[in-house]
Amino acid sequence: MDIGAQEHVATRGTIGILGAGRVGTAIARLAVAAGYRVKIATSKPAADNALIIEIVTPGAEAVDAPEAADSDLVVVAVPLHKYKGVGADMLAGKVVIDAMNYWSVTDGDIADFEADDRSSSEVVAAHLSASRVVKSFNHIGYHEMEPDSAPTGTADRRALALAGDDTDAKEQVAAFIDALGFDVVDAGDLAAGRNYEPGTEVFNGRFNAGELSTKLRGSLVSA
């Protein structure tokens, strides 16, 4: 079994996760199960997170933020009001998954996200201006991620949308999402990510790929 896991490490690559909250740790557990090497960092030193990571996401490694940033894919899942604390320099050139949401009814108003009509990921991407930002994992609850994940080809498999301006980055993220247990639907460019932000039908529901494509197309038509 260990040998199999090592083969996975060799083939799957490394995932960095910034944020050890409920979303970051759920993605981490799925990624470990899928055979990725997973490195998790927060704003605290790695040693402060070691016990949390050992128990809550066994198989992942607690590291400092620059080491997590130096991965094949980097998931950003920090509380949104702290997004500017995520270092843009260390993520330059990286494929970054923005798993965060702007949800003012629960988190309160944040001025940066009230200023104009941009999707929250466009605001984040303006901060991470040298990164290749893909928006995904936003319309699934952290407590749904593990029970809803299923192997490729499972009937009625749940689908997750992604949005981004970099085609190659989106392909890498799509492969990651599939490996974690979900079908993938391309929602379009990063701005199109607003079609699955809080308040939308997609954000509130649970859909397979066919249904999700239809819902996202519907939003485009009515937009």
């Binding site: 050890a20 909250g21 409920r22 740790t25 927060t42 016990l51 949390i52 128990i55 809550v56 009001h81 949800w103 009814v105 629960t106 988190d107 309160g108 108003d109 944040i110 609850g141 407590h143 749904e144 593990e146 029970p147 809080p198 308040g199 939308t200 039908e201 954000f203 509130n204 529901g205």
Partner: protein
């Protein structure tokens, strides 16, 4: 195992769905606590929310009144939103209630709150969210752990205390202070490091998935040098008890529906789906809805994962009729509790 209830004092509804008065809601909550005490329930937790549907805004005042009107039940906040309140005032109110209770029946549960309604109400900035919570928890613990009436503390979110008296002291010396969390791993680690008992609010998903958090809590506590007896876990969850599961499901559903319609209006959710309700109300879902046998078995099942010492249910959501709430409280105290004790003893 202690068995209890908690409430946000949900307002009753008229037949057309409109809300009845907050006055009636507070009267009902007070009556429910007295009923729970008479029925033999171990614990009752109160508020804090600040909405017309959930008007239990002042746990300290309600608990002080209940302390005088009850004889046995433990009374606590569920939870006190300490970040936007003054820990000096919270401590004084709960210490006063503790004296009134005869000593040893009053507890504080400190939480962040599941919404941010207290920030505009009390004039605090969301940008200070983390600092407010951490510093005010520190102040609350400093006062509670003080050997004398006089307390010295300084921080940035509140004026310093320079050897100032904070009175009265609780009849039992110190108040139990619990840390409430909805499942963020760092909150469990923090509770363990501080040596505070932890209270998990589990409102969705499978409760046994909290097992790693309870382990993290206990190992963090042990690593910080706290003895195992000081590291307690409690669980608050939605639930309802009736003579049969069918009746329990039918009685709890209208309130669940009302609550979700209102939350949906605030948060942009769609109309609630009864299938989601039914799925959560079956093992291993989050809702403890059923006959006394079923609810007792599910509590004991979770105990195998969390080793918790108290399990308490929120039953009066969305305007569930008061008489049905009182019957559920009676069944919880007289039917569920003895079954839980029997099942645990047989393990």
């Amino acid at each position: 195992m202690e068995i209890g209830a908690y409430s946000f004092g949900d307002s009753q509804r008229n037949a057309d769905g409109s809300l009845r008065s907050t006055t009636e809601a507070v009267q009902n909550l007070f009556a429910a606590i007295k009923h729970a005490d008479a029925a033999g329930l171990d614990y009752f937790g109160v508020g804090e929310h600040h909405t017309t549907t959930m008007p239990a805004s002042s746990p300290g005042a309600m608990i002080a009144a209940a302390a005088a009107a009850t004889t046995r039940i433990k009374l606590g906040s569920a939870a006190s939103i300490i970040g936007t309140d003054d820990p000096v005032r919270i401590f004084q109110q709960f210490a006063t209630a503790d004296v009134i209770s005869g000593g040893g029946r009053v507890e504080i549960t400190a939480g962040r709150g599941s919404s941010v309604e207290t920030f505009p109400l009390f004039g605090h900035s969301l940008e200070e969210y983390d600092d407010l919570y951490a510093q005010k928890l520190d102040l609350l613990m400093t006062i509670n752990n003080s050997e004398t009436e006089n307390v010295t503390w300084s921080g940035t979110v509140r004026p310093a205390l320079d050897n100032l008296a904070v009175v009265p002291r609780p009849a039992s010396g110190k108040l139990p202070i619990w840390l409430a969390t909805g499942g963020n791993a760092s909150s469990s680690a923090r509770a363990g490091q501080l040596g505070l008992p932890v209270s998990y609010g589990i409102i969705g998903g499978a409760p046994h998935r909290f097992a790693p958090l309870a382990e993290l809590y206990r190992r963090s506590g042990a690593a910080a040098g706290h003895v195992p007896e000081s590291l307690k876990v409690s669980v608050g969850a939605l639930g309802f008890v009736a003579p049969t599961k069918k009746e329990a499901l039918e009685r709890f559903y209208p309130g669940w529906h009302n609550l979700n319609v209102e939350m949906g209006r605030l948060r942009g959710w769609p109309a609630p789906d009864k299938r989601a309700y039914l799925a959560q109300a079956d093992a291993p879902g989050a809702y403890y809805v059923g006959s006394p046998d079923e609810v007792a078995e599910r509590i004991v099942h979770l105990h195998g994962y969390l080793g918790h010492m108290r399990h308490f249910l929120q039953m009066d959501i969305g305007g569930i009729p008061q008489e049905q709430l009182l019957e559920s409280i009676t069944l919880l105290a007289t039917e569920v509790k003895p079954r839980v004790e029997r099942l645990l003893a047989a393990k």
